[in-house]
Symmetry: C2
Subunit: 341 residues, 2 copies
């Protein structure tokens, strides 16, 4: 039987109201009383019952993050790093982090959001991997539930968010590839309505234009952000009559699969075919060969989203409601060619 506020009050010969206030730091308590209460509570190992407190205060003291994926992707370094940031930052706040998974856009996803909101399981949400016209944003806005987001969609609605200059980053990457001597670039993208895919693809096109290279639709393949889809895409590319000499991937995870496939086919990444990713996950340093990528501080972004959400939930003003991050181009061996001469 856990010790309740009653037990503490009884032991001290005080009312539970006094104990409650003493512990919560109300000013109208005699200093001596407060100290006695605090000490006794500690000695007895008293911790307020969470459910009772939540019921009374009408707050869950928890925030939620629902991983937008059909299969668990915690092992995907991007998500792993995002979770690092969320969890780590959350430990510095007086609320918990609840995590679940739901396939984006389907009914189960809607139900879980509705359920968490309606049952007051969480007070706010962190979103990422936004889609065009993301229904989550409409839903949470309508419900008046605080949330922060990585990426930006549904631009009519206002909410605190962090975004990456995906387009600019891609332009820079393509420029690098061009100057490294690659001429025929392929792009392996993600789901069609994913904001980050759209922006990165746009950057890819602009980059080609700037570099004076042509955009070939047959070299623009669809994936789903998994390494497996990168692997499959390379196998498809293999059959083309006029194959690319470099492959730009929507994210690092896709690029890992590409490296794997090239390896199997006996092609040397970098030398034979350039490969680049996006995100700058840790694993990209250890690949064979090390992967060129556009680095974004994923854990730090997640941390910041939590901090912004904390402000939002307590109705404090945000310094900035929109933060834009510049990705950093990391050139590694996977896009280095030893040109003859």
């Amino acid at each position: 039987m856990p010790v309740t506020i009653r037990d503490v009050a009884q032991k001290l010969g005080l009312s539970i109201a006094t104990v409650s206030r003493a512990l919560d730091g109300y000013p109208d308590i005699a200093l001596e009383t407060r100290q006695r209460v605090q000490q006794t509570a500690r000695e007895m190992g008293y911790t307020p019952n969470r459910a009772a407190r939540q019921l009374r205060r009408k707050k869950a003291d928890a925030i939620g993050y629902i991983l937008p994926s059909d299969t668990p992707r915690f092992a995907d370094p991007y998500y792993a790093e995002f979770l690092v940031g969320l969890s780590d930052e959350t430990t510095h706040h007086p609320f918990d982090l609840l995590i679940s998974i739901a396939s984006p856009g389907n009914e189960a996803e809607q139900r879980i959001y509705e359920n968490w909101v309606q049952s007051r399981k969480v007070d706010g949400f962190v979103l990422n991997r936004l889609r065009r016209n993301d229904w989550r944003i409409q839903f949470l806005s309508k419900q008046g539930i605080p949330f922060t987001a990585f990426e930006h969609a549904n631009e009519a609605l206002d909410y605190p968010h962090i975004m990456v200059d995906n387009t600019g980053g891609m332009v820079e990457l393509v420029q690098h590839l061009a100057s490294a001597g690659y001429r025929r670039l392929a792009y392996i993208g993600g789901p069609e309505d994913l904001i980050l895919h759209l922006e990165r693809l746009e950057g890819f096109r602009r980059g080609l234009e700037t570099a004076g290279l042509s955009f070939d639709l047959s070299l623009c393949l669809a994936g789903d952000l998994t390494s497996d889809s990168g692997y499959q895409a390379v196998k498809r590319i293999h059959w083309l009559t006029n194959p690319p000499d470099a492959i730009v991937c929507v994210n690092d995870e896709t690029a890992l699969g590409v490296l794997h496939a090239l390896h199997e086919m006996g092609l040397k990444a970098g030398q034979d075919v350039g490969v680049a990713g996006f995100d700058g996950v840790q694993a990209s340093r250890h690949t064979d060969p090390p992967l060129t990528t556009l680095d974004i501080p994923v854990p730090e972004i997640a941390r910041r989203l939590v901090r912004m959400l904390a402000l939002e939930m307590t109705h404090q003003p945000q310094a900035e409601r929109q933060i834009i991050i510049q990705p950093r181009l990391l050139v590694r061996e996977s896009t280095r060619r030893n040109l003859p001469g």
Copy 2:
């Protein structure tokens, strides 16, 4: 304002008690009434308030996992995969998963366990990375809180757990190394009182014995399961007058750092120095060169721990309270030598 049970009752002209029972599937409700209630509840979007339910039922409907680390290690593939398993399995159960981090053995860790227990935040725990005489086991046992564990410690106490045949696996690995032609093996271990370290080290010694190789204490280095500690260890090894020709690591993450360091030093893993890990994380397939390792089904183990915990919490009998898993030796390029002749 979320809709409460009162709203539903009022709309139907029934008492809240009836609504509650109809929804919870009690038998003493007219079939027609039940159907009306269920439909109306659905239409109104009613979901029971979690806090109220918890308070009344004295259950949190949540399980906890506290990552035993001083720094967030979600990006460590081992933990990432463990979390995949926990989260994925939890979605199939009527409870949530709460996650936090705490440095093992220190006071903050104790406080967080005590807090979660005392405030009834969770109904049970999943533990891993057990230590010799792990205080968590004593504490939870004494409190009567259900838990399941990966690894086995405090053998006087009985609790459902899964363990790996660490020792046997290591013996097999060392045998493989010996027959591949490696003669001077180093071992990079983990914290001294970590069960898995102790068992794996024991296996390493026995393996050497079996293979007729000698155990050299100066080749037995301490690490902390991070890739960084693997990296550092190689740098120390570098200064030895009689360096090893193979490095066995307590886990894959350590081995990643070893590969990195060898790379930097211009040594070819496999050819010049054999490298092996333990755990079989996904990333081990993509390293340069692919890593030899002892594979254990980490996500599946985590899933199973949740299932076992679910039984434990509902006082159902366990089929087996102890499950032993045999690691599978995956021989890859990092321990393949092209011997002359």
